[in-house]
């Protein structure tokens, strides 16, 4: 049997999940008490999985590196979560959500997984409302929706610009109920540093207590990795500072295949960088594209005038503005998918039309929306001859109610008032579609080791649609894993507790200790950040929004070089047995330096363009991404063979039975 058996159930696509659930093994409640599960990560995916597994009766141990599960990176998600509820009666359905997601992913996702995701999406909303998640509502008291890029219906549920926060606090509350009952043991400020495999099965982990610095062994019958994405390989991204690849990378090194590492989402609307000291980039939610219009000046002299501050954006008359998304993609306009919007911004900026000092910014303008809403509101209030000022004020109030916290965030960072002057935005690294390869059951190529949420590769193909990550994280954790893990654990009811004295634990702990001690004894001259920033620059310049063969080859060389220097010259102060953030960073950057190389290798091998992966050699005449289905309709899953950069390629061929493979068009 090939290792890359995706285990897609038989039957028509709409029945696969139901059939599968009916057939798989279940563990009876009394036996669940005999089974331990470790969940690494308590963001939306891990938090929901931990809570659901504990409710079912398993003994769950959950870890996060922050001081509380409530602080996982999921908290920062702004715009919303998709679900095929069709509350707006605009023709939405499970099939349409499935179709949009497969198409949005540029036909590089596994159909069966995506269908299941669409199928359980409606349940997620029911579940969250039952937990007390305060989604936005209309005046009739019913749930409100907005639209996101790449779709023509309104299926995104939201809680102002804090949807991730509210959903995560929902999952956190479900966890809290189980922590209070003693069914989840929560290990905050703990970082998993290795996976322990016994007789070919995942049986535990080595973790470091980040407060005391001690290494700990934890055993279990199954391990779930829900450690999030690896966008921080670029150093600058919209991810939280601590987001990292370590848990995923360490299981990769133990045998889990890593799939499509080069599929990265560059989000079109982020606050542009302002200086070298910059530590992260801030997203301005895609939901803003519901109301904001993106433009740059048509005339070069206006661009120059703006840069040397003799003109302001409001001084540029309507006819001299290039609303380039509306121009190029009339049917989707400002709501084209992210990869398309990002490349279009890059194209304009590369052509010299960027509107800030660095030449890397375009406008996101709310003035039309403010006036439109203002007029509507004035009419509702019966103020038919309201002054322009009054209309504007009314319109600003509407915009504030929708996006208030985002506007405030923008103003705090840039010191510009986006109600009065357009936002300046530019694309930034945001999400990683690639990740640990999993089968339909979310099991990795290591038996008993699962991956959920952004950490796996499963549902988004080469490009993720907005508001689909939250959906996937919660689908994995609330509705998929609780079933599929039982199928595996049904064989473990007689195994008994796994001892942490086994030689495998001993050996893994020693390896981790040696790694950490190496860093502490290295006594180099440069900080961890120094290397991380250099890696990030190579990644952004050569493995970023547009990639080509020569650049990728250079990147691979340069990353190797940086890695070598890193081992020789990194300085990690402090000691092992204490709270030591520099040591935490060192192990994370070590793993990024290996991942970065595989990332570039994957990008080099995939000579087609698809979704977020744009190879300059493969584009249509008008500069759109050109797929090559004949040669690349597969998942590239890389197997660790003992040395970084020497991974072996395995392919999972993708077959499309329910959706016709077509060149994507948003025109």
């Amino acid at each position: 049997m090939s290792v890359l058996d995706s285990k897609i159930p038989e039957g028509p696509i709409a029945q696969k999940w139901t059939n599968h659930k009916n057939k798989i093994n279940v563990v009876n409640p009394a036996n669940k008490r005999l089974i331990d599960v470790i969940v690494v990560g308590t963001g939306l995916a891990g938090g929901s999985a931990a809570a659901s597994l504990a409710e079912l009766g398993y003994n769950v141990k959950a870890l996060c590196f922050q001081d509380s599960p409530r602080r996982a990176h999921s908290i920062a998600a702004q715009g919303g979560i998709n679900a095929a509820k069709n509350y707006q009666n605009d023709g939405d359905s499970t099939y349409r959500l499935f179709y949009d997601t497969v198409k949005g992913g540029d036909y590089r996702a596994r159909e069966a997984n995506v269908y299941r995701l669409a199928e359980v999406s409606a349940n997620i909303i029911d579940q969250c409302v039952a937990q007390g998640v305060p989604f936005a509502r209309d005046y009739g008291g019913l749930l409100d929706n907005r639209s996101f890029g790449g779709v023509l219906v309104s299926r995104t549920f939201y809680a102002k610009g804090q949807t991730g926060q509210q959903l995560l606090l929902g999952a956190y509350s479900a966890m809290n109920r189980q922590i209070g009952k003693g069914k989840i043991q929560m290990l905050n400020r703990h970082e998993m540093l290795d996976l322990v495999i016994v007789d070919g099965k995942a049986r535990g982990i080595i973790a470091r207590n980040l407060v005391t610095g001690e290494l700990e062994r934890h055993s279990a019958h199954a391990v779930v990795i829900a450690s999030g994405g690896y966008g921080n390989v670029f150093f600058l991204s919209t991810n939280a500072m601590g987001s990292n690849v370590t848990a995923a990378w360490r299981i990769h090194r133990r045998g889990a295949y890593f799939a499509n590492p080069c599929y990265t989402q560059i989000h079109p609307t982020c606050i542009p960088r302002s200086g070298d000291y910059q530590s992260k980039l801030t997203l301005m939610s895609e939901s803003l594209r519901n109301d904001g219009r993106i433009w740059v000046p048509k005339k070069m002299e206006d661009v120059e005038a703006i840069r040397n501050k003799t003109k302001k954006p409001v001084d540029i008359p309507e006819e001299d503005r290039d609303y380039y998304l509306e121009r190029r993609y009339p049917s989707f306009g400002n709501l084209v998918p992210r990869d398309v919007a990002s490349r279009a911004a890059k194209e304009r900026c590369d052509a010299g039309f960027g509107v800030n000092e660095t030449g890397e910014a375009v406008y996101l303008d709310f003035s039309s929306a403010i006036m439109r809403y203002g007029h509507e509101k004035a009419n509702i209030l019966g103020e038919h001859d309201a002054s322009i000022e009054r209309v504007r004020a009314l319109g600003e109030a509407v915009i504030e109610a929708k996006y208030g916290n985002l506007f405030q965030m923008y103003e705090k960072i840039t010191d510009d008032n986006p109600y009065k002057t357009p936002m300046k935005i530019y694309p930034a690294v945001h999400y990683t579609m690639g990740g640990i390869w999993v089968d339909y059951n979310l099991m990795t190529t290591i038996e008993g080791c699962y991956a959920a949420g952004e950490a796996n590769f499963s549902d988004h193909g080469a490009n993720r649609l907005g508001a689909s990550a939250l959906m996937q994280g919660l689908a994995d954790g609330y509705f998929v894993l609780p079933y599929t893990i039982g199928d595996y654990l049904a064989h473990d009811i007689r195994t008994g507790k796994i001892s942490t004295d086994l030689p495998e634990f001993e050996a893994a702990e020693k390896e981790v200790r040696d790694r950490l001690e190496h860093f502490l004894n290295n006594k180099g001259t440069k900080s961890v950040d120094h290397f991380h920033k250099r890696l990030g620059k190579v990644m952004w310049d050569k493995v970023g929004m547009a990639r080509n063969e020569q650049g990728l080859k250079e990147a691979i060389e340069e990353i190797r070089q940086i890695r070598e220097e890193f081992y020789k010259d990194v300085f990690v102060p402090g000691t092992m047995n204490e709270f030591n953030p520099e040591l935490e960073k060192a192990t994370r950057v070590e793993d990024f330096l290996e991942l970065g190389e595989l990332f570039a290798i994957d990008a080099l091998h995939r000579t087609e363009s698809c979704g977020g992966h744009f190879r300059e050699e493969s584009q249509t005449e008008d500069g759109e991404a050109l797929r090559d289905d004949k040669h690349f309709a597969y998942v590239a899953a890389w197997k660790w063979t003992g040395e970084p950069g020497k991974q072996e390629l395995h392919k999972e061929e993708l077959t499309f039975n329910d959706i016709e493979l077509k060149q994507r068009s948003y025109k």
């Binding site: 007390g132 407060v211 200086g275 609330y478 520099e582």
Partner: protein, 249 residues
């Protein structure tokens, strides 16, 4: 800008701790406060010294991880922001800035500026949830319409990020604003009403156990709260508590 920093250094929970003085010469007004701290840490590392430990993660004001007491105020002089959203343009060339950890009995210091806020989690374990299983068999999300006004108020309360500034700002180190935000969120929603009584009793009991002080209505918490959590929530919690306590008798 040139700045003088007086930063609290404390090796571990048992160490006594003291303020150390550092000079920074090249601070841009566009930096965030934490980016300024990064620059300080780079400087310390290049001198072979230990950097200042501080908590942070999202750096966009939502995770609640950052927690510095700056010039005597939690999250510093700006209003409605967390430490990570504070920008150096709020300071002047030549300023001396005091940077200390949040101080409260309920938040013991771990190292330098890092404190242990697990008491907040334990209060949530005591009742910060609706007892519903994640079975997927819940009723349709639109089965119970919720008046927009209630939904909006519940949302406002739910935006608390659990940073602890309210506690650090309060002379009694009271956690009332934090606890009342959760109690209010659920009290305002039909889904939360069922367990409202038990919830408020349990959460308040745990809050007292953790050593947080009483509320004497000074309102300092509301002023310093980066998310504008309103004192109305405390009033609502007091009402809920009274109702529950009376009917429990």
């Amino acid at each position: 800008m040139k700045l003088t920093l007086k930063v609290w250094r404390q090796k571990s929970a048992n160490d006594k701790g003291r303020l150390e003085t550092y000079q920074l010469d090249n601070v841009s007004e566009h930096m965030s406060f934490l980016e300024m701290m990064d620059v300080l840490n780079e400087q310390l590392i290049s001198e072979g010294q230990e950097p200042v430990a501080f908590d942070h993660d999202c750096r966009e004001g939502i995770c609640g991880m950052c927690s510095m007491h700056i010039n005597g105020e939690p999250h510093g002089p700006d209003r409605g922001v967390t430490t990570c959203q504070l920008h150096m343009r709020k300071f002047k060339d030549g300023d001396t800035i005091y940077v200390e950890p949040f101080r409260a009995k309920g938040f013991p210091i771990i190292k330098d500026l890092v404190v242990d806020r697990s008491a907040f989690d334990r209060i949530q374990h005591a009742g910060g949830f609706v007892s519903v299983n994640t079975s997927g068999n819940t009723q349709d999300a639109n089965a119970i319409p919720i008046p927009k006004d209630d939904a909006d108020k519940a949302f406002d309360a739910a935006t608390c990020i659990g940073c602890g500034a309210c506690v650090a700002a309060c002379k009694n180190a009271s956690a009332m604003l934090f606890v009342s935000a959760k109690v209010s969120q659920f009290a305002l929603l039909p889904q939360g009403k069922v367990e409202a009584k038990q919830r408020v009793l349990n959460m308040v009991e745990q809050m007292d156990k953790e050593g947080f002080g009483n509320c004497t209505n000074t309102g300092a918490c509301e002023v310093e709260c980066p998310k504008g959590i309103s004192l109305e929530n405390i009033a609502r919690m007091n009402r809920e508590f009274l109702k529950a306590a009376c009917s429990a008798e």
